[in-house]
Amino acid sequence: MKSSAILLLAAMGVLTTQVQAAQELPDKQAPLPSVPKNPDQTYLTPRPLSAIPEGAFGDKVRMGYQLFVNTQQLRDKYVGNELNCANCHMDAGRKANASPVWGAYFAYPAYRKKDDKVNTFQERIQGCFNYSMNGKAPAAGSPELVALSAYAYWLGMSGLMDAANLDGPVPELSDAELVKGAKREDFPLPDTLAKAMTVEQRANLPGRGYPEIPKPELAFSPERGKAVYTAHCQACHGADGQGQAMAGVYSLPPLWGPMSYNWGAGMHRVNTAAFFIYENMPFAKSIQLTNQQAWDVAAYINSHERPQDPRNKGDVKQAQEKYHNDNDYYGVEVDGKVLGTGSYPVFPKKS
């Protein structure tokens, strides 16, 4: 990010100047607003990976896919835990209602009222590295962020083009265009697509994010959640929540502890985790958990220690007040211990 000023054209055409101090983390993992699932909905379908074109642009898209499913290749460089992007974004970021990256791509840049900031798509991915991956984000414009942006763009654009019966390859964009995201009036689009949907409609593609589920009938409870976890989750994620590695790869990921997402990640919020779990777990959905079970087990998983919130400047209470709300356990006493006070290190080195 350096200290250079970044000019962004906000959606309404207002010129916003944003100066980012290098020591400040670029993003909180603000969720895109969730909407309830519509059972009759059809979803954008990206083209198969075999349709990615040859050449330099296609290479960026392919690299994005590879980083997405094997994020561990960035371990110790930008990644500080055992997770891969594809753990939470099912089907390598393609599956509707599993926070598909094609949905997110068209929803950024996003204006955030809270701190009067516009977050670009790459800033949002930087947030993923800092929090979900408990690492250190690659610099703006780095090959990794360009590749991940190119992958998200190509998936989304290929799906929109197919839906509009537009043949031909996905238009190639410059790196500078790619990393901004597509929610802007000046985003380059084929005419047919530009006329078919408004910027706002493209930013709210069905299947984006994790679908919202109703609040539970009973207040969510880690105690009840433990029973749900034992019955439905621990075969894959382990009784201790530490996941399972095979040939060194944790495709069954750790859910808490030192090698999982940190206290700043979106998934540490009970509501976000409940939405994810209800829609996507158990893996491949052989059964459907109840609404109550999803909330309870999300509370159980997220009431364990994990790596520290990187925004904590030494005081859990202060960080809790500034960054945490009533949908999470940071700063809350569980089993006689205040969560956050015994947190694991941020971005520990494996080697």
Partner: protein, 208 residues
């Protein structure tokens, strides 16, 4: 007791010929008495004898234990294995599971990590590595590990006999094999076509 086991091991070595001698000598843990019944079909080294019994070498202790319990409980149905499993009383299951899980598979398979390859000309390899989520089918390697090497409750598929993998997928479909948490494996198997069952069995059996 030790002498008896050594004598037994030597006897088995003689029966199975000189090829195995070096292997048995190299493995310090001896076949437990409870495991004598296993080797006729699974081999002394758990290498499997097709079509009598699948390979056990390369399977985890946790998996072998669970499956023997499933045979005993009738959750997993097999005319041969159900009575065999019943012979394992006391710490019999623990003994044979320890013995066979300590054996190394005959074929060494180099793990291929997900993402190394982006596109696949072979539909079966693509199914194994990327699944087909349009049908709710996840990638096999998500639970069975890179190259299907397995671990924990998830059996190794790499180098397993094709005929056995096929029989098992069909058993999941028929409901004669159960015991998976929440029917996770049955859910996957039921979405596979007959051709995919054949192709996946051959794919994993022949991984190098």
């Amino acid at each position: 007791m030790n002498i008896k086991i050594r004598t037994l091991a030597k006897g088995i070595t003689l029966i199975y010929g000189c090829v195995l001698t070096s292997v048995v000598m190299a493995n310090t843990s001896a076949l437990p008495p409870a495991g004598q019944i296993c080797v006729t079909c699974h081999g002394v080294e758990g290498e499997g004898i097709e079509p009598l019994g699948p390979r056990l070498a390369g399977l985890s202790k946790e998996y072998i234990t669970t499956q023997l319990q499933h045979f005993q409980a009738g959750v997993r149905q097999n005319a041969t294995m159900m009575p065999m499993a019943m012979t394992l009383q006391g710490d019999g299951i623990d003994q044979v599971a320890s013995y066979f899980s300590a054996k190394s598979p005959k074929t060494e398979v180099k793990p291929v990590i997900r993402g190394e390859q982006v596109t696949f000309s072979d539909d079966t390899a693509r199914l194994a590595y990327q699944g087909d989520w349009s049908r709710g089918l996840p990638a096999c390697v998500t639970c069975h590990g890179p190259s299907g090497l397995g671990g924990g409750l998830f059996p190794r598929l790499a180098g397993q006999q094709a005929s056995y993998i096929k029989t098992q997928l069909l058993a999941w479909q028929a409901g004669t094999r159960k015991g998976d948490v929440d029917g996770m494996m049955a859910n996957v198997a039921n979405k596979l076509t007959a051709a995919e069952v054949d192709a996946l069995a051959n794919y994993f059996a022949n991984l190098k």
